[in-house]
């Protein structure tokens, strides 16, 4: 069972954090271990997942998209239909309940695209917890709708003006807040990154996606899919759908990173496809760094993938070959975005649009009996301004 007791997935993971946070992480890990075996904790999680988040989300056979591609059948796991519009609610709910159980009423979170921020703000409003969200200025600019949603739900959004002013810097600032207010605050990290126990805890809360997918595809097709495809920024939606299939060796798992303006340029966000091993935000994993170990600035059209690191379990899955990681660039993601809009009447977020593009391309080379499941991790309302501009549709 991974991670091991020090939080390692093979060579990746661990806990590279200031001493101040080590006791807090110990406390968190102990509280989570206790909650994990508490039936009442999961009963509450399941009940709220159903009644608040709207789970289970559908597994939808995208027939027109499949026909358009002329090959495999493409199913979409509709996380875009979950409350607040993305899979992020699963983790926010789980950790929100854990924070409440630990008696911590001040919640800190970071957000890139704003989807985790919105999910955290929603859960905090629902549970009556104070919520402070760090968000890079660049992301505030490009995801203004989500900023407004967070504020409406009572969260305080604190702009981060350091570094590249995106997700990486928002995490730095959230960690600084946590170091300062560690005794009364809970850090609700939004992806499978960071020090142990976050990568495994967030995975556990997100694995509801894969569990449902497995039951749904078996009920419908009486067999498992041939491919599961998901976009990877930090990697929480991907791990969420991959994890329950890890032992099903015939199911091929594909993570799609953001190639931005191309892997040959400096403007991408694909550490698994083009990075090296290092330590960022408390964990050892693949990341984008220069020859001196300075973290590189990244670029992706989608704020949610615009991150130089990746969850340590993905690094492990890459090295073992259990999952394959590829990358799709900005233009291709926009094609995927438009394709799903026009064939299915579904507006995807730009993050899963990367996975849609890759799935569509792949489907055309496969047989009709073959099954691809794409994790449609979020809806695209938040991205309309960016898409309109990038596609030159401004009136």
């Amino acid at each position: 069972m991974l991670p091991d007791n020090k939080g390692y997935f093979g060579a990746y993971g661990g806990r590279f954090v200031p001493e101040t946070l080590v006791p807090a992480l110990d406390e968190l890990a102990a509280a989570y271990e206790e909650a994990k075996v508490d039936v009442s904790f999961w009963a509450e999680f399941d009940s709220l997942s159903h009644n608040y988040s709207g789970r289970p989300t559908p597994l939808y056979l995208a027939e027109r998209l499949s026909r358009h591609c002329g090959g495999a059948q493409i199913f979409l796991k509709r996380e875009d239909l979950a409350h607040t519009g993305a899979h992020k609610i699963n983790n926010a709910l789980g950790q929100g309940l854990l924070a409440q159980r630990m008696g911590k009423h001040r919640i800190i979170a970071e957000t890139g695209a704003g989807q985790h921020g919105v999910a955290a703000a929603a859960v905090c409003a629902m549970l009556g917890l104070e919520c402070i969200i760090y968000m890079g200025e660049e992301d505030i600019r490009r995801q203004s709708l989500n900023v407004f949603r967070m504020k409406l739900m009572g969260a305080e959004v604190r702009p981060v003006s350091t570094g590249s002013r995106t997700l990486k810097d928002a995490i730095n600032e959230a960690i600084r807040d946590w170091v300062t207010n560690v005794r009364n605050s809970y850090y609700l990290l939004g992806s499978v990154v960071g020090p142990y126990p976050y990568p495994s805890m967030v995975r556990d809360f997100q694995s509801v996606i894969g569990k449902e997918t497995k039951a749904q595809i078996l009920a419908r097709c009486n067999r498992l899919p041939d491919y599961i495809i998901a976009c990877v920024g930090g990697g929480s939606n991907a791990i969420g759908i991959f994890y329950p299939f890890l032992n099903d060796e015939n199911v091929r798992l594909i993570g799609v990173e953001a190639a931005g303006k191309g892997l040959k340029t400096d403007k991408h966000a694909a550490p698994l496809a083009a990075g090296t091993i290092g330590v960022l935000h408390g964990a050892k994993s693949y990341l984008l760094q220069d020859s001196s170990g300075q973290i590189k600035e990244t670029h992706s059209i989608s704020a949610g993938l615009d991150y130089p690191g990746v969850g340590p379990e993905h690094s492990y899955l890459k090295d073992t070959g259990r999952a394959n990681y590829v990358a799709t660039d900005d233009q291709e993601a926009l094609e995927g975005f438009q394709l799903l809009c026009s064939t299915e009447g579904i507006v995807p977020a730009l993050e899963p649009a990367h996975a849609i593009f890759y799935a569509a391309k792949m489907a055309s080379s496969l047989e009709k009996e073959q099954i691809i499941v794409v994790n449609l991790s979020g809806r695209g309302d938040k991205d309309l301004d960016i898409a309109i501009e990038a596609l030159g549709l401004k009136q």
């Binding site: 806990r15 590279f16 300062t180 960022l280």
Partner: protein, 259 residues
């Protein structure tokens, strides 16, 4: 006894200052370190800048940012320390985050440090739980690996650091990041006393120490004080570092008077 531990003598409170290598520029680093040494500093921490300094407050974040903009690399920091170690007699330690060290290669980095006159390492995001490998390598190269303790550290963690830290133990005065602060936390003496019961190493207090008054208070309970952000702020004031030199003299005086 290592060069670092020999600094700690009965009746003397060590003064340790931090600067970011290459901030505001490389010439400044080469010029200011001998001034620090000549005016009462016992150890200088040379900060290798890192792009994501998550244990640092705004002053050192800014210094790191501009140092990197100035093109500072780990290799350059090693060259600068080599030059400085020939100019000053006091021990020099590197303070940086784990990734630049990991990226350089632990073995290569420690070998290079040792050849460049570095006597110890402080790596705030490397707790002893993750430090075994670097500890073994640094020991072979005669470098002290200095671990940190925080006000949140439990008895178990205090014992762990007391078993593993070499040179001294770095006590983080507050739950928080680096940066000049007005006052010291009221329970600091209890924290120092708690660590003192478990550890035989010298205890040095840092984070937020920014006035001679702070130094006086600490001289009564600690074996050393560490001042960083305030030094960097003062370096920005004048090119000949008069402000820094005066500040260091005041700190030295405050420490000596209070013993």
């Amino acid at each position: 006894m290592t060069r670092i531990s020999s600094v700690f003598q009965p009746g003397h409170t060590a003064l340790i200052t931090y600067i970011t290598v290459g901030y505001p520029n490389i010439e400044a680093t080469l010029k200011v370190v001998p001034l620090l040494a000549d005016n009462g500093c016992d150890i200088v921490e040379l900060g290798i800048p890192f792009s994501d300094p998550l244990a640092d407050g705004v002053t050192i974040q800014k210094a790191s940012f501009y140092a990197l903009k100035n093109g500072v690399t780990t290799k350059m920091c090693l060259e600068i320390s080599k030059e400085l170690s020939q100019k000053v007699k006091i021990p020099l330690v590197f303070m940086t985050y784990f990734n630049p060290v990991f990226c350089y290669g632990l073995e290569d980095f420690c070998t290079a440090c040792s050849k460049s006159g570095i006597n110890g390492l402080i790596i705030p995001d490397l707790p002893p739980d993750e430090g075994s490998q670097l500890e073994a390598i640094s020991r072979r190269q005669g470098l002290d690996l200095i671990y940190l303790l925080a006000p949140t550290s439990t008895e178990d963690r205090i014992r762990l650091v007391a078993e593993r830290s070499s040179g001294f133990i770095y006590l983080v005065s507050v739950t928080g990041v680096t940066g000049a602060r007005d006052g010291l936390p009221s329970d600091l003496d209890k924290f120092v006393a708690k660590v003192r019961r478990a550890a035989t190493q010298p205890l040095c207090v840092g984070f937020g120490i920014s006035t001679p008054e702070h130094a006086s208070q600490l001289a009564k309970i600690a074996d050393g004080v560490i001042v960083g952000s305030r030094v960097i702020q003062l370096m920005e004031i004048d090119d000949d570092f008069t402000s820094v030199v005066n500040f260091v003299k005041e700190l030295r005086h405050a420490l000596d008077k209070s013993r």
